[in-house]
């Protein structure tokens, strides 16, 4: 929310749940550290870049220590470099916190890099057309992004997408 500082934004869900400032303090610091926003506590959103705003949103989601996180195309509006960096950070969070993340994306590469399971969906009516397991252990790093296996899975997902759109054209 634009009228709250980064710190205030991350505090908001705890505040609404009735938590005292002193009690919330360490959890907020922890959430901000996880997304790499230490030092920006007092900044207002308008002073941040798109990637950093997204980090604030993630920190705001993490601070309640959820067991499930649903992300609907969170990085779609970001440039490629920022996107890759946030992908890495998200995996870091994922490993540290052991939570389930449901992640919607239009990027094949993003889906393969992040997921251990990919559901390909088709429109009208909305349905799952493919269920692909990405059998690569975490942690995944930059090396995985350029590996043979990565390309292998990207091809599988792309083929599934192609098949889906082909089916729809036939209709």
């Amino acid at each position: 929310m634009p009228w709250r500082t980064v710190w205030g934004n991350v505090f908001l869900p705890l505040r609404i749940a009735g938590m005292a400032r002193a009690e919330a303090e360490p959890r907020i610091a922890d959430a901000l550290a996880r997304v790499g926003l230490v030092g920006f506590e007092r900044a207002y959103p308008r002073q941040l870049s798109g990637g950093m705003k997204m980090r604030v949103s993630i920190a705001r989601a993490l601070v309640t220590q959820p067991s499930l996180l649903l992300m609907d195309e969170p990085f779609a509006a970001l440039d490629e470099i920022t996107r890759a960096r946030l992908n890495n950070d998200l995996l870091g969070v994922f490993q540290a916190q052991r939570l389930t993340i449901g992640f919607v994306t239009h990027s094949v590469f993003e889906s393969v890099f992040l997921s251990d399971r990919i559901l390909v969906m088709a429109a009208r009516p909305g349905r799952v057309v493919a269920d692909i397991a990405v059998d690569v252990p975490y942690p995944r790093d930059e090396a995985f992004r350029t590996s043979e296996t990565f390309i292998h899975y990207c091809r599988i997902v792309s083929d599934a997408l192609k098949q889906m759109t082909g089916d729809q054209d036939a209709l």
Binding site: M1, P2, W3, I16, R46, Q47
Partner: protein, 264 residues
């Protein structure tokens, strides 16, 4: 440097125009030998302002107190009603038309009625000025409260926020720029409202505000003092506007684009 020069010009040009205008006025009055009771020169008006400062400043205080009482009342009731409207579409639907009626009925027409029913003149004047001033605040704040980003509303629902929490943490701060915009308009309007009401109340009451002074001076054909009163009123209006703009800046400059300086 260029930036500074631009700013300097921006400040200097209106001043220069004002000075030229006053010089021309003074010259015209002298050359045409205008009698003071028709058109006094600026110097004569200034000296009247100086000589009658005691009476004028007393009147100014009266007018100001009416204006600020009306503005405070308008902010409270306007803001409060807007919050009430935001709680329920039905309340809004049933009350908003009456707010409009109150707004569109000319205050000069209502003022004599209010003066009949309210014994205390000062209170009656405050009510008149309040009627003029509260609508922009109500209408602006209602707009602001309804303009909340639906994504944030979803987020609040996710946090299981209670109704008052949604209002306090989301709707109210989001509506702040709109509210302050309304207050800025209402500041000028409450001054106008109090002057109009005072003129309507006229000599029938023991009014001592600036508008009454102007009226009284006109009966005495003391034209310089009439001008002095008008000058005081417009200066007051400008000061009120500047003050409210400053208030708005203090509240909003950290986050709202309207008053934040671009850094990139």
């Amino acid at each position: 440097m260029r930036f500074n020069r631009g700013r300097l010009l921006r400040a200097a040009l209106p001043v220069a125009v004002g000075v030229l205008f006053l010089l021309g006025w003074e010259a015209f009055v002298r050359i045409a030998e205008m009698p003071v009771y028709i058109l006094p020169g600026p110097l004569r008006i200034a000296s009247s302002l100086w000589e009658d400062w005691d009476t004028l400043s007393d009147s100014l205080v009266v007018t100001l107190s009416i204006t600020f009482a009306a503005l405070a009342g308008a902010s409270l009731v306007g803001g409060g009603l807007a919050v009430l409207f935001a709680q329920s579409k039905w309340i809004e639907a049933s009350l908003f038309p009456y707010a409009v009626i109150l707004q569109v009925t000319p205050i000069v027409a209502i003022a004599p009625l209010i003066l009949i029913y309210v014994r205390n003149t000062e209170v009656a004047l405050v009510i008149c000025a309040w009627i003029v001033a509260f609508f922009p605040i109500l209408s602006n704040t209602t707009l602001g409260l309804n303009a909340t980003d639906p994504n944030f509303l979803d987020l609040m629902q996710l946090y299981k926020a209670k109704r008052w929490q949604v209002l306090w943490y989301l709707r109210a701060p989001g509506a702040m720029p709109y509210f302050l915009g309304g207050v800025k308009i209402a500041g000028g309007l409450s001054l106008i409202g109090s002057v109009v009401a005072e003129l309507t109340a006229g000599t029938a009451t023991a009014g001592t505000g600036l508008a009454y002074r102007i009226l009284e001076s006109s009966y005495r054909l003391d034209i310089p003092r009439m001008y002095a009163g008008v000058v005081l009123l417009s200066v007051t209006g400008v000061v009120i506007f500047a003050g409210l703009s400053a208030l708005s800046w203090v509240v909003l400059h950290r986050w709202h684009e309207s008053s934040a300086r671009r850094e990139h």
